[in-house]
């Protein structure tokens, strides 16, 4: 099968990956900046996310009003988001508008971070932080990260703390921006029914003059802590019970197996669904694989009435232990493989979805994967390979237990 990918690296270090999708009418483009919450210092927690907001606020060429107007003049579906280890800016447009879309995104990457917009946007970020405090799942996840990764930058919330966002100056943000937003720390990914040669010309035109910063990664692999932590919050009705155990990092077959393990344990039609939800213990219980380039965890997560904490906790532990001890069954593995086939077929018809997958592949595997390659990896998931994985990353370890809600459970006495 013909390789649908074109990859080039500009002289300034900007990596470019293009996927041709001959059967679609749209195209998507996005910059992945290799920076996120884990690249921040504690006093500047939240700078990556705040900066992502500021990137929409103006360049030497465009006032902020012109940035959003120009996106909207293309009818683009566009946005940006920040995670622990990346910041992404993307736009999804009609294929004929791709060059204009790349030009706007590229111009945004040269933001002037206008001083006059800084305080106003700070208010928006503070409102976003306030909104998160009203959502128990958000509070619980931040608390979990803080405790599991205590002492490591993965412990700070992506939005930062109210105090750090309040204290951040525009000069501090500018210094961070100069260091992190350079072509040798970025990647441009494009997918759609496009001519790669034309796209590369366009990229040279819009990004070829950028100067590299020579920045190098100072990321330290995280260490996950075990223990138990409780965050009593009277104003919520439900209790969140979450257990984290170490899992495979991103990239490679082990990551696929970790995701399969989480799916069999706590995805749709899973063991959690039939043995926890459908027995009335909890309306929501699931398992999720979180992955970073140098670490990973499986999260067992449920919400329940406060007096059901013990039942929920014990049931999640029991299912995890059973899987660790007895492994999985052939039909469960087969289901994962079949579902993945369908999801890949769905993903393959929408350039925006392919963009997201390509960014994952490039960040964690340094190369794009065709649908066929991904299916071949999924086919390597077998009952035996899952058993080997569970021997290496057992689900039956104590891990870290977090409880958030009105009940002080488990109590310390």
């Amino acid at each position: 099968m013909r390789d649908p990918y074109t990859q080039v690296t500009l002289d300034n270090g900007l990596r470019v990956v293009i996927e041709q999708m001959p059967d679609v009418r749209s195209a998507a483009a996005g910059f992945l900046v290799d920076t996120g919450a884990r690249d921040e210092t504690a006093p500047q927690a939240g700078v990556s996310h705040f900066l992502e907001h500021m990137m929409f606020k103006g360049t030497s060429k465009r006032h902020w009003r012109d940035i959003t107007k120009d996106f909207d003049n293309l009818g683009s579906t566009y946005n940006a988001y920040t995670s622990e280890d990346r910041t992404i800016y993307y736009g999804w447009v009609r294929q004929t508008d791709l060059d204009a879309q790349i030009e706007i995104l590229a111009d945004m990457m040269t933001s002037t971070l206008p001083e006059e917009e800084f305080n106003m946007e700070r208010n928006v970020v503070l409102e976003e932080i306030a909104m998160g405090k009203d959502q128990i799942e958000h509070v619980a996840f931040d608390f979990l990260q803080e405790k599991v990764f205590e002492g490591h930058p993965l412990a700070w919330p992506i939005l930062g703390y109210e105090s750090t966002v309040q204290a951040l100056t525009r000069d501090q943000m500018w210094a961070y921006f100069q260091k992190r937003y350079a072509p040798d720390n970025m990647m441009l990914v494009v997918a759609g029914n496009i001519d790669p040669d034309e796209v590369i010309k366009s990229i040279h035109r819009h990004c070829g003059h950028w100067k590299p910063s020579g920045t190098t990664s100072s990321r330290v692999p995280p260490k996950m802590h075990s223990g138990t932590d409780v965050l009593p919050l009277d104003r919520f009705r439900q209790q969140i019970v979450a257990i984290t155990v170490p899992a495979a990092p991103a990239g490679g077959v082990e990551a696929e197996i970790a995701t399969a393990v989480a799916t069999i344990l706590g995805g749709e039609n899973s063991r959690f669904f039939w043995n926890i939800v459908q027995t009335g213990i909890s309306p929501r219980a699931g398992a999720f694989h979180y992955e970073y380039s140098d670490g990973g965890m499986i999260l067992l997560y449920g919400s329940c009435q406060p007096d059901n904490c013990e039942k929920l906790h014990d049931a999640m532990r029991q299912e995890a232990r059973r899987m660790s001890d007895e492994g999985v069954e052939e039909h469960e593995v087969q289901r994962v493989r079949n579902r993945r086939r369908t999801s890949l077929a769905i993903e393959a018809e929408v350039p925006y979805h392919r963009l997201t997958q390509l960014m994952d592949d490039m960040q964690y595997r340094a190369q794009p994967r065709t649908v066929e390659t991904m299916l071949a990896e999924v086919d390597q998931i077998t009952v035996d390979s899952v058993r080997d994985y569970l021997n290496k990353f057992p689900l039956s370890v104590a891990g870290h237990l977090v409880s958030v809600g009105p009940r002080h459970w488990p109590s310390s006495d």
Partner: protein, 422 residues
């Protein structure tokens, strides 16, 4: 130009197919015209419970065996309990079409509604009702819906504890017998399939499924109650929701309404995002949207903000709608229209989006509408259309709902029907 097939099967199912031969998947959506509006008043929550239990056991197999059978084909399926319909959808690879339809027919036609499954579902829904208190957005929606739409269209899917307590297994069976009939179903299919195969397979599995006569198409009248309401709650942010009547999806002014909403809340250059968030930093989230049951429409504005910014946010929201008729620019109108048309085109790459669009057309219009026809109507909207719309459908009677630590002083003072819910 896309070719559609629209017809009625001998069994009574009205169906539409959008063949997309180059696609790798098939998506279908089967809507049963038996949404929350069909619940008996003393059994609120019944439709959601049917959605939770209908696939949890058939005359042939258990719910888990059924789920495993669908999973064995990698089918991504879902059930939704809506205001006017229950939706059964599935996306899968083409080779599984026959079997996926067969399994859906099995649980739609021969559900057993096991008592133990019902007991658990009722218990879980009561837990969800309790935890709805932790969902500020969901609570605000629950407050404003009955005011916006009235006691029938404004029902909440979860029902109430008292009405859930009254639901029995026999209620589920009665409701299913009454409403789950082929003449009460709308089917939409998009993807790599020939229309003839759709009709052959669905007729094979749904023939003689109740009455083939068209049913369930009555329109429920809107019962709008303009009111100001506030509920005190310990929250970081105040939730604000405002609504007033608009037009329904079949109305000639519907495209004008769509464009007006785009101007208010389409992209990041839209009025609300620009004026409320970007210029004043009052909010992170602000939006305008519509909800259109058959025969009526409602315009909503929503935002969440810290209590000290609440009055200013509310005033800005109202001001932005009020001034729209005075200073709308041609460039702004064209940008909004481009946004709607481009979005329609880019989403057209998704088979699921095409299927959903087809299902909406069948439900609201009774037939598929080509993307070109929709695009033409949107493209023809002018500034004077927007101005006429704004003067024809006044906003002097509104619902304003707030949830949080502080009531809106101005609204409470001027409203004759305002009240605080403790």
């Amino acid at each position: 130009m896309t070719d559609f097939l629209h017809d009625q099967l001998p069994c009574g199912i009205e169906y539409a197919v959008c063949p997309l031969p180059r696609r790798q998947i098939i998506c279908f959506q089967l809507r049963v015209l038996a949404g929350m509006t069909t619940e008996p008043a003393d059994k609120l929550g019944l439709v959601n419970i049917i959605g939770e239990t209908i696939d949890k056991g058939t005359e042939k197999q258990s719910g888990q065996a059924l789920a495993d059978a669908l999973d064995a084909m990698g089918a991504s399926s879902g059930i939704g309990a809506g205001r006017e319909t229950m939706t059964f959808s599935s996306t899968f690879l083409p080779e599984h079409f026959d079997r996926v339809v067969e399994l859906h027919a099995e649980f739609l036609r021969t559900p057993t509604f096991p008592q133990d499954v019902l007991d658990v579902s009722l218990d879980l829904v009561k837990q969800e009702l309790s935890t709805l208190e932790d969902d500020a957005n969901g609570l605000t929606e629950k407050m404003i819906s009955p005011l916006a739409f009235g006691p029938i269209l404004g029902r909440h899917p979860l029902g109430e504890v008292a009405t859930l307590d009254a639901i029995t297994r026999q209620d589920l069976i009665n409701h299913w017998e009454k409403h789950f009939q082929a003449g009460n179903m709308l089917l939409s299919v998009a993807g790599a399939i020939e229309p003839q195969r759709v009709s052959d397979v669905f007729e094979k599995y749904f023939s003689s499924f109740g009455s083939p006569a068209k049913q369930g198409r009555d329109i429920i009248p809107l019962a709008f109650t303009p009111q100001v309401a506030h509920r005190d709650k310990e929250l970081e942010q105040q939730q604000i929701a405002i609504c007033w009547p608009g037009v329904d999806a079949r109305h000639k002014d519907f495209p004008v309404q769509q464009v007006m909403l785009g101007i208010l809340s389409g992209g990041m250059s839209s009025r609300l995002f620009t004026e409320v968030r970007e210029k004043q930093g009052l909010v992170y989230w602000v939006s305008a949207w519509q909800e259109t049951p058959r025969g009526c429409g409602m315009i909503f504005l929503g935002a969440s903000t810290t209590p000290e910014r609440c009055e200013k946010t509310y005033n800005t929201l109202i001001h932005e709608v009020d001034r729209l008729a005075d200073d709308l620019q041609q460039e702004e109108l064209e940008r909004t229209i481009t946004g709607i048309l481009a979005s329609q085109e880019t989403r057209g790459d998704s088979t699921r989006a095409r299927c959903h669009e087809l299902a909406s057309d069948l439900f609201f219009h009774g037939h598929p509408i080509s993307p070109d026809e929709k695009a033409e109507k949107i493209s023809n909207v002018t500034i004077s259309d927007i101005q006429r719309y704004l003067s024809t459908y006044p906003r002097d009677k509104k619902c304003v709902v707030t949830l949080g630590p502080k009531a809106l002083q101005h609204c409470m003072a001027t409203s004759k029907t305002g009240g605080t819910i403790k």
